[in-house]
């Protein structure tokens, strides 16, 4: 009954005209910011902070939260339409979303992303409401040891990208790890591969790399393969905006699975939205009966990461509200936002400011609903942009990528680096080196390396810590299975073929 009571309080606050307007402004702003790479939610919230000093804290926080989860909706649009991820959390959407767009199904990709985000988001808010404090406690069980085992498992999932040349997948992963090591090392404080160039001390920002490797590199590829540009325009019918029955069937479990993975990864403080969408995509590909369809425009490949990133952005509120720990750069800004009003989110917040907490959580239902409406209505408009001549679209891509790269650190150096990564990405594509493993290694590289070293400092150099802690042990076992899975699969196929065919066609056993 407590929950219902809280829900009532929450909605009575969130549904006031004023707060609905703040929520709407927040999600709209988030949606726009999400479209622009480089300008993420942290910058957006920091920009708007001073404007909200006249509002009351609840309204302002409702708006910030709106920006926060609105961003993930917005990032999808550029990912699908021009293969430039607007946010790091929508990188995985590029893989199948852009392929769908090439096949004339941009509308369906955007629809499934919006619906998936809405469903996963709404379910996440329900769980957040019911279990926030308990979830936060669960999050605390994640220490460096668990982080390392988690990343170990994620790298294991990369085997799904085996492809024709597994060696090239390995090289690509290693390149990603290498790029991640550039800059000051957190654990030792020493610079690595900076060669005395001060700008390299901070390493490369993720956005700079994906703007180059996805956005600009895509321009070169499209020019080389003129059919791609033509494809974008040729098939363009209204009914393609809607999901077919087949799409629903294909994506319903992807949405649920993506939502669950996203939610779980989101509550882990260092997990983050990007990691959530990566894991959801990889897991979906692993679970699929037709993994070969991924990367060719599989709708599940859009549904899973999109549901995951929205679920993660909402579950990230659990540790923030219940413990006062910021799990991501954005929640760190939310924390700063709270403090500007003299509110310290933390274990006591639920008791001292119940109307703020419940008003904020309730507003997330409204925000998600508003976003669904906005997106469904705007999809035809966005898709219509693809009708522009490719030379103009190309101009858009260059503008977005260069402004995005610039605004990460406000420096031209990053714009040049972005161009460098574009050339690298283009060459890798031409020589059949897969790019996704590089990106994943980039996202997880630092977390993996730092947490391994932190764990070993804590354990005094003993590796047994990874097996004595239950969560960590679970991930380690899953990781080992993932690494061995190509072997297991191969063995299972042989075995089954042997069992089925052996009695009737003994000769088939002789074929290798």
């Amino acid at each position: 009954m407590d929950l219902l009571n809280n829900l009532y309080t929450g909605f009575s606050i969130a549904l006031t005209f004023n707060n609905i307007i703040y929520c709407l402004v927040g999600v709209l702003f988030g949606q726009i910011i999400g479209v622009l790479p480089g300008i993420g939610a942290p910058t957006a919230i920091a920009l708007l902070l001073p404007l909200t000093f006249k509002a009351n804290p609840t309204s302002a926080l409702i708006m910030f939260a709106g920006i926060y989860y609105g961003v993930a909706y917005g990032g999808t649009i550029t990912s699908v339409l021009i293969n430039v991820p607007g946010e790091s959390s929508t990188v995985m959407t590029c893989l199948d979303g852009y392929q769908m767009a090439l096949k004339g199904r941009a509308g369906a990709a955007l629809s499934v992303a919006a619906i998936g985000s809405f469903v996963a988001g709404t379910i996440s808010v329900v769980i957040l409401m019911a279990f926030a404090p308990a979830l936060a406690k669960l999050a605390l069980r994640f220490g460096p040891a668990e982080y390392f085992s988690l990343t170990l498992m994620a790298f294991g999932l990369l085997t799904v990208f085996g492809g024709e040349q597994p060696v090239k997948t390995v090289i690509s992963t290693m390149l990603g790890l290498l790029i991640a090591t550039i800059g000051l090392d957190v654990v030792s404080g020493m610079p690595r591969f900076a060669f005395g160039v001060p700008q390299l001390l901070g390493g490369f920002d993720f956005i700079v790399i994906i703007c180059g490797m996805f956005g600009i590199a895509e321009v070169f590829c499209s020019i080389e393969e003129p059919e791609e540009g033509e494809l974008l325009k040729s098939k363009f019918r209204l009914r393609d905006f809607f999901l077919t029955w087949q799409d629903w069937i294909a994506s319903r479990w992807a949405i649920i699975r993506g939502g669950i993975i996203g939610f779980l990864v989101g509550i882990i403080p260092a997990g983050g939205i990007t990691t959530a969408s990566f894991l959801a995509y990889l897991a979906e590909k692993r679970a699929s009966r037709h993994p070969e369809r991924f990367g060719q425009g599989a709708i599940e490949g859009v549904a899973a990461p999109e549901s995951a990133n929205n679920a993660a952005s909402i579950s990230g509120f659990a540790p923030l509200l219940a413990l006062g720990i910021p799990g991501s750069p954005t929640t760190a800004v939310m924390l700063a936002g709270f403090m500007m009003w003299g509110i310290r989110p933390g274990p006591l917040l639920f008791q001292t400011k119940p109307d703020l907490v419940w008003g904020l959580i309730s507003s997330m239902y409204i925000g998600n609903f508003l976003l669904l409406l906005i997106n469904i209505f705007l999809i035809p408009a966005f898709v219509a942009l693809l009708r522009l001549p490719y030379t103009i679209i190309m101009g858009f891509i260059v503008i977005f990528a260069s402004v995005g790269a610039y605004s990460v650190n406000n420096s031209l150096f990053d714009v040049w680096m972005m161009l460098g990564f574009a050339v690298l990405g283009y060459l890798m594509r031409k020589l059949n080196y897969p790019i996704v493993p590089l990106i994943l290694a980039l996202v997880l590289g630092n977390l993996s390396e730092n947490s391994l070293r932190q764990t070993l400092i804590i354990s005094g150099g003993s590796l047994s810590i990874f097996f004595t802690r239950p969560i960590s042990a679970f991930f380690v076992i899953a990781a080992i299975l993932a690494y061995l899975s190509p072997l297991i699969r191969w063995g299972w196929k042989r075995l089954r073929r042997g069992l089925v065919h052996a009695p009737s066609h003994p000769e088939s056993n002789q074929s290798p």
């Binding site: 090239k168 030792s188 020019i223 103009i392 260059v398 402004v403 161009l419």
Partner: protein
């Protein structure tokens, strides 16, 4: 394509060797666990190993697989050159004007649109960039000599 794969392999090999060299200068082990040089060193070693594998593979196979230079590769390179020149000019022209010009010029060269429409697109793009990024979102984009 075979040649390109070969060159690619050699570049990766050299990169790997460089990584091994530079990371061997960082502390390999610290008091309790791997030091800052641990991961890069092994990454370098794996890269070297994989690169050799790629090279051997290419040298062993003799069939032709795909082509590296396609009919329109030149066009792609031309766009790269144009982006390069635009970025060089950004500090002088500023982002709004520089990128606005880029859009117009690529439209003219790549798409062979009419001069007038190219010019108009240029102007509109420049104004949009200025209004959205500089005025509204207050991103401190370089504004060039003209200061706009």
């Amino acid at each position: 394509m075979r040649m390109a794969d070969l060159i690619g392999g050699v570049v990766v090999l050299l990169l790997g060797l460089a990584v091994v060299f530079f990371s061997s200068q960082l502390p390999y082990y610290s008091e309790y666990g791997p030091g800052p040089g641990f991961l890069p060193l092994w990454v370098g070693v794996v890269i070297v190993g994989c690169a050799m594998f790629v090279l051997v593979n290419v040298l062993r196979k003799h069939e032709k697989i795909g082509v590296f230079f396609k009919a329109r590769t030149k066009l792609g390179l031309r766009v790269l050159a144009m982006i390069f020149i635009t970025f060089l000019l950004l500090p002088l022209l500023g982002f709004s004007i520089g990128l606005g010009l880029f859009v117009g010029i690529t439209m003219r060269i790549m798409g062979r649109h009419h001069w007038a429409s190219c010019g108009l697109t240029s102007v509109v793009t420049a104004i949009c960039i200025h209004l959205i990024f500089i005025s509204w979102l207050t991103i401190p984009l370089p504004q060039g000599l003209i200061g706009w």
